[in-house]
Symmetry: C2
Subunit: 149 residues, 2 copies
DNA sequence: AGTGAATATAAATTCAAA
DNA sequence: TTTGAATTTATATTCACT
């Protein structure tokens, strides 16, 4: 349960300006995760999320910096991805169960990489790239992203 | 007052694992800034600082990601620096009053740039580089850092 | 504008439980 | 090991004042 919830949390916070843990709790409930603020607080700690001052004067939750602060080196992204491959202009990313949506949401925020679009199931993300060259270039980048950190 | 306090805050949080705003308030008091938690809360918002889960299982304050989240594009670093120049193997960074210490503390955390050491006064940071080449290379990097964001 | 005291709100933790 | 309810603790904001 926890793992797929974590995936969903990443998706939710990248796609919505979540300001408080209560809001996130609410959002999770809407998607069928029956949790309380206590659990959300722990999830946020485990995922290394961070409350940042937002443009509009309020706050929002976001993913923390890579590496540095997340001492163990445990950015969910790097832990959750098990393989990255491509064929022609499509990239296939395999993840642990429930994490695909979070990964996809995060990748969608990376601009200028030749990604036309993505779909995420439970443990698989499919990226449609502009062309094979873009795919060939992107894959090693992803591999680096998911290794180091 | 506020500006030099902000500079000091950056210095304090980069050099010490500050876990709460009370701790930061305390630290500021030790350095002669008579403030309360309320003010520190505002300062943290204005500086775009962020509470991250730390390696040791607790939390600590840290500088937020560049750009992205700090909508106005107001990372203190970029706002505070007024000029960057070099001569031989030394780099001179001019800042607004009180900010030099924060800048210096931050730069010290950037590894592998040929910086041998730094001293910071109130509005000036002097970096001693390995050699002139390192200085020549580093300056444009700094300029970029302090421009964009 | 910038601030502190008091307060309201949010977040982390404790403790019990499954 | 993961969780929720209750609680403690931390943080943000309000309001008055400078």
């Amino acid at each position: 349960m926890k793992r797929s919830r974590h995936g969903r949390i990443l998706k939710i916070i990248t796609e919505n300006p979540i300001q408080t843990q209560e809001q996130l709790t609410e959002a999770l409930r809407n998607e069928g995760f029956a949790v309380t603020q206590a659990t959300v607080s722990r999830d946020i700690k485990e995922l290394g999320l961070v409350k940042v001052a937002s443009a509009e004067g309020g706050y929002r939750y976001a993913q923390g910096k890579q590496g540095r602060e997340n001492g163990h080196g445990i950015n969910m992204l790097s832990k959750a991805v098990t393989s990255v491959e491509y064929a022609l202009h499509t990239v296939v990313i395999k993840t642990y169960a429930g994490m695909a949506q979070g990964i996809a949401a995060t990748l969608d925020t990376m601009p200028g990489e030749g990604v036309l679009g993505s779909v995420a199931g439970d443990d698989t993300v499919i990226l449609i790239m502009k062309n094979e060259e873009a795919a060939a270039k992107f894959v090693p980048r992803l591999e680096r992203m998911f290794k180091n950190i």
